[in-house]
């Protein structure tokens, strides 16, 4: 009886320290972990496919004028499902490994992205210009002009 108790005590001593030294030492999650979303502004062309599939309605899209489309990622309610990363045709959205996202201000949990668009000549709505050259054409850019503007 006493011996078995002593053996248990020895087992406890052998186990050593099990606690994760987390806030003092950095911690890497597993490679398949999906954390905070990151957006590459130069890849996104504002198609809005991510907003279509987002189950939590994180991504709000509105056109401020005929040349600018604003994508607002209110990821405080993101469920980290990764659908936006799957459907993005340009791989502009990426689920990073960052999990240290606690904050005291809810305004920190917003990503605001402004995408440059061209207006349709017939209906006036925004559409993504296919090439960088087209982007400059719709905004009246001339390479040798005065200040680059028409």
């Amino acid at each position: 009886m006493l011996l078995s108790k002593l053996r248990e005590a020895l087992i406890c001593l052998k186990a050593g320290r099990v606690t994760l030294p987390y806030p003092s030492a950095p911690h890497d999650p597993s490679p398949r972990f999906r954390g905070k979303i990151t957006v590459d502004p130069d890849r996104c062309f504002g198609c809005g496919g991510c907003a279509n599939v987002c189950p939590a309605g994180v991504i709000l899209i509105h056109d401020t004028d005929q040349h600018t489309r604003v994508l607002e990622f209110q990821w405080r309610r993101c469920t980290y499902c990764g659908r936006c990363e799957e459907v993005c045709p340009e791989q502009a959205i990426h689920m990073s490994q960052q999990f240290e996202t606690a904050t005291d201000r809810p305004e920190d949990l917003v990503i605001r992205l402004e995408v440059f668009m061209g207006p349709c000549q017939r209906c006036g709505r925004c559409f993504p210009p296919p090439t960088p050259l087209d982007r400059m054409m719709v905004s009246g850019f001339r390479s040798g002009g005065n200040g680059g503007r028409q």
């Binding site: 209110q74 405080r76 050259l133």
Partner: protein, 169 residues
Amino acid sequence: MLKRLCAKAFPKALWVYHANTGACNGCDIEVIDVLTPYYDAERFGIRLVGSPRHADVVLVSGPVTRQVASALHRLLDAVPEPKLVVAVGSCACGGGAWFDSYGVLGGADQVIPVDYYVPGCPPRPEAILYGIALALGLVSKQVVCERLSQESLEELAQGVSRYGGVSDG
């Protein structure tokens, strides 16, 4: 200011009352994980208590349902001052996938003032530990509001001229 207030008001230990306001139990399981010896929140003095009258911190998980909102108000009135409210999980932070549903009020901050937000669905136990450490002033905040925009037209022109050049025709 909040950090200094915390250091003054909570010099030793934070006793936590955990309020489930309609969560799916995912966040609750992660909160229990944090209290196990592997993550060991007790080294920061975190302890779960059974009554809000003993608590310093109220941990809210779940989008606040219509039914539980009045109970949450009464619960918060029972907590002695000074008190902290921590929203754990995407649901408590902003309503989660139910943010515009008729049955929920869309997050803890729609009902009561929230001091700290720990997003995640559910948040990793490390993320909750990070939130605790942030509240205790041990670590600094890592997220800020991001304002991104595409490259300006001038940079775009340089890029195009690098790839063959544009000339006025």
